[in-house]
Point group: C2
Chain length 339, copies 2
């Protein structure tokens, strides 16, 4: 391969992290800029371009880049656009793949952050060699990337894999950011855990070290620390969260019969506090044909590198634009990326 590197860009609501990655998944160098400094998207792209070029020059990697992969909120693999309703300072939709490709003169592929994580895990992480798995990202929200027969599932419009918005409580469910009620994300995200803490502390009367904190400020990290310290209410919060997530994973299994789920993100680092009730609930609620067959794995990507690695893996696919530039944005054929 004449071009030995790819660039991975992970655009978050606060930071945009980017790195140069080789074919074995080693992050050669990385850096970041603030996402929200510029009110004009072109200024943001100018700064990103400038900083990435500096990184390339410092690492003697200019002209050695095969492609650029981007994970960004609501980014659509098919269209190359960042679509509506995201927590970014610019008007949407944004033809982000085309804009970057024009700026860098390098093919660009984009997808949402959870899909990027799934591709990264399949290429470099816990899902290497696994053809059917579902990535669940447990962060501020709950994201997912679904891989079937070695191919990421994009759906007819590029928006497949919104498993955080499966409705797990049909009646009297919590209000979700999507405007509906009862979504998985409203319970099993970091913010969901904090909401559960407030509910439990209000309903129950037993002691808890969480009661020493201002109730509105309690975070999932506070709940984790309290649970590790043996706090009963905190442990019950993880029991509740893990049970709901395990029930949901059992329901996801009847769809695509994955051989594994891969968990990623802050909550996934809670270890057995979350995993024990999760596995118990998953097996208890599993359709008989799948009982005992589905593994629950934790991400194996180094946390600091994970987002960039996931995005970068997509950079290896970003070649259609080279062979057929006219199809780069808006009309890209919905070809399976890993075929």
């Amino acid at each position: 391969m004449s071009k030995p590197y790819v660039i991975g860009i992970d655009m978050g609501g606060t930071n945009t992290v980017f790195g140069i990655v080789d074919a074995r998944g080693v992050v050669i160098a990385s850096n970041s800029i603030k996402t929200r400094t510029h009110n004009n998207i072109n200024d943001y792209i100018d700064e990103l371009h400038h900083e990435i070029n500096r990184l390339l020059e410092a690492n003697n990697a200019t002209d050695k880049i095969h492609g650029i992969g981007v994970g960004a909120p609501n980014a659509n693999y098919f269209t190359g656009y960042i679509e509506e309703n995201v927590n970014l300072p610019w008007p949407t939709p944004i033809p982000f793949a085309q804009m970057l490709s024009d700026k860098f003169g390098i093919p660009v592929a984009i997808t949402n952050d959870a899909n990027a994580a799934a591709i990264g895990e399949m290429t470099y992480g816990a899902a290497r060699g696994i053809k059917d798995f579902i990535m669940i990202t447990l962060g501020t929200g709950v994201g997912s990337g679904i891989v079937i027969n070695g191919q990421l599932v994009y759906g007819h419009d590029g928006n497949a894999g919104e498993l955080g918005h499966m409705i797990i409580k049909r009646h009297n469910g919590r209000l979700c950011g999507c405007g509906r009620t009862g979504c998985l994300e409203a319970y099993c995200s970091a913010t969901g855990v904090a909401r559960t803490a407030r509910e439990f502390l209000e309903i129950r009367t037993d002691n808890s070290i969480l009661r020493d904190l201002p109730i509105e400020n309690i975070t999932s990290k506070d709940v984790y620390d309290a649970a590790v310290a043996g706090d009963k209410i905190a442990r019950d919060i993880f029991e509740y969260t893990g049970t709901l997530l395990g029930e949901a994973l059992a329901d996801m299994t009847v769809f695509s019969s994955p051989s594994a789920f891969v968990l990623f993100g802050g909550l996934a680092k809670s270890g057995e506090l979350l995993l024990r009730p999760l596995r118990e609930a998953m097996e208890k609620n599993m359709f008989p044909a799948f009982k005992g067959k589905v593994k629950v794995l934790l991400s194996e990507l180094k946390e600091a590198d994970a987002a960039v690695l996931g995005a970068s893996a997509l950079g290896w696919e970003a070649k259609q634009a080279v062979m057929a530039p006219a199809a780069a944005v808006g009309t890209a054929a919905p070809a399976a990326p890993m075929a």
Copy 2:
């Protein structure tokens, strides 16, 4: 193509229907035998072989068969086996694809009935030209066949697409045939509708022509006839069933973002009695990104031919066994069938 026909075999619990089908999906000739006549599977296959040969000879089609496709309960595309726990008179697992292939000297591909229906609909029916759809079969149970990017989803073990066993009532749900409670199938199948009728008639006190029937014998057809005649309870039963199914379809959408659902089977013929509440509930519960984008279609396969057509479409794929006989059973590569 030198061999212009395929054979489709639909093995049901009562009848086994088979037909000779051409490349345009015309059923040239068909016939059937009783599934349960023989206690020995070999005798069943002998009779099937004999009758199919008679049909081939009568239609001058011997030596013109490209492959045999079979839809059968719990049949696994990867292994070629009919797996455990099915309502058939023979011990399982049964290496059915290998047994048929040995008998006929023709490549055989098998899958479960709902997957066969999805392939049939994609090849000849309402889903022609649709790359992402979900087939829902509403019969005695609720089956499903999922198509993503033009390929049927088999999952890591061949058992994907058991959407009838999504749990739609987490607490106090009805007992399902699978041993768990609250499955979609326990509510939205023909038997589910009959159970709803019994529940409604017991709980409610208003008049209904359904009260003229022995309550234990009420069928979904009775409920349909009563609803068409304007019976309030019967109409409410369809409202309830359609609402539950619509809510479930909305949840399925976040998985694979299909552009359509295709409904098949007895209940699907209830028309707007089922479809109006179904569409309303689906849209009301739809994740915003998918609102107004997902069609609900009815099967376009002629009912008498549908099962055979669906199975036969799989016959066109049944060629691996010719090129690599050793891989026909048990070790077949999990290649995507429609690739």
